[in-house]
């Protein structure tokens, strides 16, 4: 019995700092603004968190294998664009959804092959793919947005179920699914192993390439899913869709404890908390009418403090000893 208690306590203490930040936010904002603690506002937060929330799962998977994915924005853009333009040509909504996901998979496959077979560092490979996919989107769109999608399609992202928007349900469902995958399946455990020491897993007979390629494909699929949801909510594929998505997702993952320098470090729960905090931050800044120009600056400060947390922790510990 004692062993179990210890592990629940220690998992909570792992996230103590993040949970603490959430609590501080909630208390602070409830005092600062009367609109904060309303049902509409809270569901709003989870709604606009849904896009980068879902993509962050994919980003976490890539970061766990020791890589990074700068092409998430472009992947989302091109998948959504190709899917939706088919719909506008008269194809049924399910064809759009299928093609969108397939496009996401293909981009993921390209990333995966570039990183494994061509041995290009993930930073460079995904940077190139981002530019290629964005370029294709802009080239095909010729600078014009798409709009006017079928109602069923819009319902995927925008309808409500039990009074909560579908975007919320999809996000929660995906987090639960990937939590189970990462902790309870062979594939998930192997992802952690490959990220932790790819040379050791190679000697152990694991096929690193297979795992890494699959991870990038999953990331691509998640981008596509996020694309379906956001275009459903907005009823459009904007020209600047998903701009800045990569930096935001990396911020969320790192805030949640993932390490970009050391593969195999990071958790889904941490990622969820990171996403939530960034969402709270954005919401608070909006409610407090902070200019949107300054929002990026504040997010940067938050990220900086989050990654320096380790340094501050050891500094405080040392001061206590003396």
């Amino acid at each position: 019995m004692i062993k179990k208690k210890n592990s629940i306590l220690s998992s909570i203490s792992e996230y103590a700092v993040l949970i603490g930040i959430v609590v501080v936010f909630i208390i602070g904002m409830s005092i600062a603004s009367p609109y904060f603690l309303t049902f509409t506002n809270i569901t709003n937060i989870i709604q606009y968190v849904s896009t980068y929330g879902i993509v962050s799962i994919g980003m976490l998977l890539v970061i766990l294998t020791g890589g990074i994915n700068l092409s998430v924005g472009g992947t989302l853009a091109i998948s959504a664009y190709i899917g939706c333009s088919l719909m506008l040509r008269g194809f049924p909504w399910y064809v759009s959804v299928l093609v969108c996901i397939l496009t996401g998979m293909m981009v993921g496959l390209v990333n995966g092959l570039a990183v494994t077979k061509l041995n290009i560092p993930p930073l460079i490979a995904t940077l190139a793919v981002e530019q290629i996919t964005r370029g294709v989107h802009l080239g095909l769109a010729q600078g014009a947005p798409l709009t006017g999608f079928s109602q069923t399609y819009l319902n995927i992202g925008a309808s409500k179920f039990l009074n909560l928007p579908m975007a919320v349900w999809w996000t929660l469902l995906l987090y639960v699914i990937f939590f189970i995958i990462l902790y309870k399946t062979c594939f998930g455990r192997t992802v952690y192993a490959v990220g932790g020491n790819p040379m050791a897993t190679r000697v152990s007979g694991i096929n690193n390439h297979k795992i890494i390629i699959f991870v990038y494909i999953l990331a691509g699929i998640l981008c596509a899913i996020a694309g379906i949801i956001v275009t459903g909510r907005m009823n459009s594929v904007a020209v600047s869709i998903a701009k800045g998505l990569d930096t935001r997702c990396i911020t969320c993952c790192v805030l949640g404890g993932a390490s970009v320098t050391r593969g195999g470090k990071g958790t889904i729960i941490g990622c969820f908390l990171g996403v939530f905090i960034i969402g709270l931050l954005q919401n608070s800044l909006d409610l407090l009418a902070v200019s949107s120009y300054w929002q990026e600056f504040i997010q940067g400060i938050v990220l900086f403090l989050a990654v320096s947390a380790d340094f501050f922790r050891t500094l405080i510990a040392r001061r206590k000893k003396k």
Partner: protein, 495 residues
């Protein structure tokens, strides 16, 4: 004899693990003192406190009679204490001279970098000591033993008063050890005091004057090494004697077809015309100097490195283009030379590292891991290889070298190998753990597993193997029966 370093009543705890329990250590001026203890006894922690990397929770340090506080490695260096770590800290892209003078580059009278000065001083020193390296050589091209020598030379240039050597001979051959000890002798004549940490008790008995033994985080004896025996030291370190099992004898009339055959295996620059065959159930050793090609052959068999020509025949079938995945499926397992690099996933637990190769076996539908089953099997294996741990959920990076090696062996055991290849299996492993590992291998051989050990430690091969193959400069020279050969004979064959 005046003491130059005194460490009194040192206590150090990590979380609730007491690593040093009121430990005392005294080094006298001009003395060479060995610090002995099994992995986990506290030796490295004591040394790291002296080096300023850790801070003692309580206790005092005195240098030349005065109380000092060592808060960082720079403090230790200012006092004149120099550390030569087990892992070599050289800059491979710089030259020998630049490495020797690193951090202390000479300036000429204008304040600019005096390049000529450092090369002259370095070459001078190398010539004085009759070391066959040029000051202009690129360090990355040197062998491990030569890099070790550079670390010592750094100390000489800085006129250090105390030199702390952590496992300095683990990557040296017998010949290189002689050069190394001569170097230490020269320094000793200049009045340098040494703290010497080593698992090679023969070396300890040879070059040190006194030894301090640590056991279970406490002092357990001071010895005059000219008057003590290896057995006495082992007893002080572990409280019992290491008992090794009988090496298995070659079965007479063993006509079974060989489990592994290498035919004319060649890799340019590394090894040539390697022809050998291994009977099932035997322990075959491959010995040779560092650089003779041992690791290269081991890695080629397992598909970790490519080779140019020749055939690898496993159980009668030619294996074209071996890969680790293929070999693992064929029930071949390998423990590679560099455990930190390729042995385990550091952030994962002992339990997960053991089932790293075989996770599929515990998969239920949809890939879910049968965690209870996996945990139970993994724990059984960890216990059978006698890993010293607080729990098998401990991260492997927190274990000592010997225990890490046992976890890796555990992982290989878990995959039910029929052929088990090991490359330098007990490097950096303490005396007791070494014997435990040998016993594990002998048990496996008795159960029918074929063991292939590549090692530069001759005593190891003579103690464990049935037959030994001698490798020299990439070619096989001889194949001898272990029980009919002595160390001296082997030594002359490999050089």
């Amino acid at each position: 004899m005046k003491p130059i370093i005194e460490m009194k009543n040192i206590v150090k705890t990590f979380s609730d693990n007491v690593v040093l329990d009121h430990v005392n250590f005294t080094l006298n001026q001009g003395e060479t003192r060995a610090l002995l203890g099994v992995n986990g006894a506290g030796k490295s922690t004591l040394i790291k406190i002296l080096n300023g990397i850790y801070h003692a929770d309580s206790g005092e340090i005195y240098f030349e009679g005065e109380r000092v506080r060592i808060n960082s490695p720079q403090d230790a260096e200012k006092l004149g204490i120099r550390f030569v770590h087990q892992e070599l800290n050289v800059c491979p892209d710089l030259t020998v001279a630049e490495n020797i003078f690193i951090g202390h580059l000479k300036k000429n009278r204008f304040g600019f970098y005096d390049e000529k000065g450092i090369y002259a001083a370095s070459q001078d020193l190398l010539n004085q000591l009759e070391i066959n390296i040029k000051a202009t050589d690129r360090v990355g091209d040197l062998r491990a033993a030569e890099m070790q020598i550079i670390e010592i030379l750094k100390a000489m240039i800085l006129n250090s008063k105390v030199l702390v050597l952590d496992e300095p001979t683990s990557s040296l051959s017998e010949k290189e050890k002689v050069i190394f000890f001569n170097l230490l002798g020269t320094l000793k004549e200049r009045g340098v005091s040494f703290i010497f940490i080593s698992h090679f008790l023969e070396d300890v008995l040879q070059i040190s004057d006194h030894a301090t033994a640590l056991k279970d985080s406490r002092n357990n004896g001071e010895f005059d090494t000219k008057k003590t025996t290896k057995e006495e030291l082992i007893f002080a370190m572990m409280g019992k004697n290491a008992i090794q099992k009988e090496r298995i004898e070659a079965e007479k009339g063993n006509d079974a077809p060989p489990i592994l055959e290498l035919r004319n295996l060649c890799s340019s620059g590394k090894f040539r015309n390697i022809n050998l065959s291994v009977q099932p159930g035997m322990i075959l050793g491959v010995c040779g100097l560092l650089g003779a090609g041992k690791s290269e052959i081991a890695r080629a068999i397992y598909g970790l490195d490519k080779y140019d020509s020749g055939e690898i025949v496993y159980k009668g079938e030619v294996i074209k283009n071996p890969t680790p995945e293929k070999m693992m499926k064929n029930h071949v397992a390998i423990v590679t030379e560099d455990r930190k690099l390729e042995g385990f996933v550091p952030l994962m637990s002992i339990s997960e590292n053991i089932t790293l190769s075989t996770l599929r076996r515990y998969a239920a539908k949809l890939g879910f891991v049968k965690e209870k089953l996996r945990c139970a099997k993994s724990l059984k294996i960890a216990q059978s290889v006698t890993v010293k741990m607080t729990s098998d959920k401990q991260k492997v990076e927190s274990l000592s070298g010997g225990n890490q090696q046992k976890v890796i062996i555990g992982r290989c055991l878990e995959s039910d190998p029929e052929l088990f290849i090991l490359d330098e299996p007990t490097r950096g492993v303490d005396v007791y753990a070494k014997t435990e590992i040998y016993n594990i291998l002998i048990d496996m051989a008795n159960r029918g597993v074929t063991v292939l050990i590549f090692s530069s430690e001759l005593e190891e091969l003579l103690a464990v193997c049935t037959e030994i193959i001698v490798l020299r400069s990439g070619e096989i020279k001889e194949r001898v029966q272990a029980k009919e050969t002595g160390k001296a004979e082997l030594l002359s064959l490999i050089s």
